[in-house]
Structures are given as structure tokens and as C-alpha cells.
Symmetry: C2
Subunit: 190 residues, 2 copies
């Protein structure tokens, strides 16, 4: 492989020249929002674009490689929850990820398979280290796009199934206009 460049626009999050451009719509978030009535009602109005990812991933899926790109979570609500990413563990649990927030306002919700959790605020300038073993989900609490630049090892892989089946232990919800962490009433230990 030869060196190559792509170009990151800090206002739009578009990574010009990236290998992949992924779009996730509301229908792919089935079961992830606590308020199922609000979810179905919103889906009835159309399959909204929740987030997008531009990513450089054509390198071999090897431990010494670095996949990288941008995540753009659009602003929106489902009941008192916010638009967010699906969230995932890495398939190779012993792999970290680094996020640099370049635009917008949000939280990264994180948890381990052992039930530890943490939420870190994302705003421009924040560089977040997500250690090995920590599942992670970006949540947009603002009125503008939440944009992060991310990097993870080439062999990490994505495990979306665990979060799809069990959810996260904690939710971030709007309480009188303030983002507030609460227990997930639908969290499943199964």
C-alpha cells in the first residue's frame, strides 16, 4: 500500500476521497429507542437519515493498520432520546478507538461487558480515548450535526449484535431541556 490522503471538511464532516460512504436511517435503529411509540410515529413520517460515516478501509484488516474516517450524527429526537449511532463493541475486544470531535455537541456513551459505564461530553476540540473492551455510541444532543474523526485498528471489526440485542445500560434523555443519564428501562442482561 502507498501513502494516500483524503480531505476533511470540519463544517460538513465530509471526508473527500474516502473509500466508503455509509448512511444509516431510522429503520436500522429498530429496538434501540426506549419510546417505541415515538419511534414508530417518527418512522411513519419517513425513514430519516440519522447518521453517516465516511471511512478509509481498503487497507488489509491487520492489527498494525489504522482504519479512519468521520462520523456525522444529524440532529433529531425520538421521544426524549436523541439521534445517535447504533453503537458497537469491537469484535476483537482488545482494540481501542480514538475520537476527535470537530463540530457539534454530544455525548459518547460507553460500557464494558462487565457492566462498567462512562459518558463523555463531545464538543469541538475534545479528543476521546475509548479503551479496549468499551462499547461506544455517539449521541447528538445539539441542534447541528455532531461530527467526529475516528481511528481504530484494522483488525478490530464491529460487533453490532450485542448492542442490538441488549441495548446499553444507560440512556441519555432530555429532562427539562437538559441531557440526563438514566437507567435503560429495556436493558436486558439476557
Amino acid at each position: 500500500m502507498k501513502p494516500f490522503t483524503t480531505d476533511l471538511n470540519l463544517e460538513t464532516g465530509i471526508l473527500r476521497g474516502a473509500h466508503n460512504h455509509l448512511q444509516r436511517r431510522l429503520s436500522s435503529m429498530e429496538g434501540q429507542y426506549s419510546d417505541r411509540v415515538a419511534y414508530e410515529a417518527l418512522l411513519g413520517q419517513g425513514d430519516a437519515l440519522v447518521y453517516e460515516v465516511y471511512e478509509n478501509v481498503k487497507m488489509p484488516p491487520a492489527p498494525g493498520e489504522l482504519y479512519h474516517g468521520t462520523s456525522i450524527v444529524h440532529p433529531g429526537r425520538v421521544g426524549d432520546e436523541y439521534f445517535m449511532t447504533k453503537g458497537h463493541f469491537h469484535q476483537v475486544l482488545e482494540t481501542a478507538e480514538v475520537y476527535h470531535c470537530v463540530h457539534g455537541h454530544g455525548y459518547m456513551m460507553m460500557e464494558t461487558p462487565h457492566g462498567e459505564w462512562a459518558a463523555e461530553e463531545l464538543k469541538p476540540g475534545v479528543v476521546l480515548y475509548v479503551p479496549p473492551q468499551w462499547a461506544h455510541r455517539s449521541i447528538n444532543i445539539g441542534n447541528d450535526d455532531l461530527i467526529t474523526f475516528f481511528i481504530y485498528p484494522g483488525d478490530a471489526g464491529h460487533d453490532y449484535g450485542t448492542v442490538e440485542a441488549k441495548g446499553f445500560h444507560k440512556l441519555v434523555v432530555d429532562r427539562q431541556g437538559k441531557p440526563t443519564v438514566i437507567d435503560n428501562p429495556r436493558w436486558s442482561a439476557a
Copy 2:
């Protein structure tokens, strides 16, 4: 290890809260500049600060970890060459590095142990992928700080000795006000 954040100032390159802050002065660049007379003359005026690194490195030196930080190359000249970093291979050659240029103007000079070379322009927005095996050196061709955010695997390590002994195959020099790539007259195949 728990998740943690540091704060990146895009104008200064300071990564607030970083584990390490490293400063490299002109005296540590002995033998790296082609024009030895200009080097000694400049050193005679004082041991100038050439570049600084803020870095998060307290994670275990394991393949799935990600060390990350900022590099700030100050503006300056040594003869017709520019202020630059020492440049290095990774000790574990099969490890990549990603750079995101956030400020300033420069080049990344790169080469492999097999003699391939590449130079990529660095300006705000450029995301550069440095593949496994490629030595790399940042060169500031502007009048302001050249600031990059970088990420590399925790087990990569640094091999500065090869570049110190042999130099890079190519130099970037000022020719009538334009940065120009030339063969390194002092490059050693030994």
C-alpha cells in the same frame, strides 16, 4: 484503563491534559541538515526550539492500543532546508500512522527500507495515511506553526537511529521561494 479525554486547540496545537510534552531543539538534529555550515551558524545563535509533541502514551504498549497526540513544527530554516521533525521508522515495521493536519503548511516526506519514497502536502483538512513500513518526517514550509494530530498503534515504537545514520533519500529545499524535492547529497546506503 478507563476512557479519558484531552483537549486539542487547533490554533496552538496544545493538547491540554496530555501525558507527555516533548520539546526537540536544534542540537538534537545534528547531522540531519545538508548544509552543515548553516546548521552550526544557527546553533551558534542559540538552541532553537524546532518542534514539540503532546502525546497520550500511558496505555499499555499493546497492538490494539492507540497512542495519539499533536505535533507542532515551528517555522524556521537551516540554509535552504526547513524546520522539520527527526523522522523515524516504527520499530514494529508493520504498523501504520494517521496524521490529520489542522494548521499550517508543510510536507510529509516518507520512504520505505526498499528505497520507495513519497512526499504529501500537509495543509488544514488533509488526512494522511502512512502505511506500515514507511518512515515519515514532517517539514514546515510555511511561516506559521505546522500542526498535525497523529495516531499510531501502541506497540509501534520508534526507530530514530536508522534515519539519524542514513538520512532520508530526498530533501525538501527552497528553490526561488518554492519547496522542491531533491536527492539528498549526503544520503548513505551504508
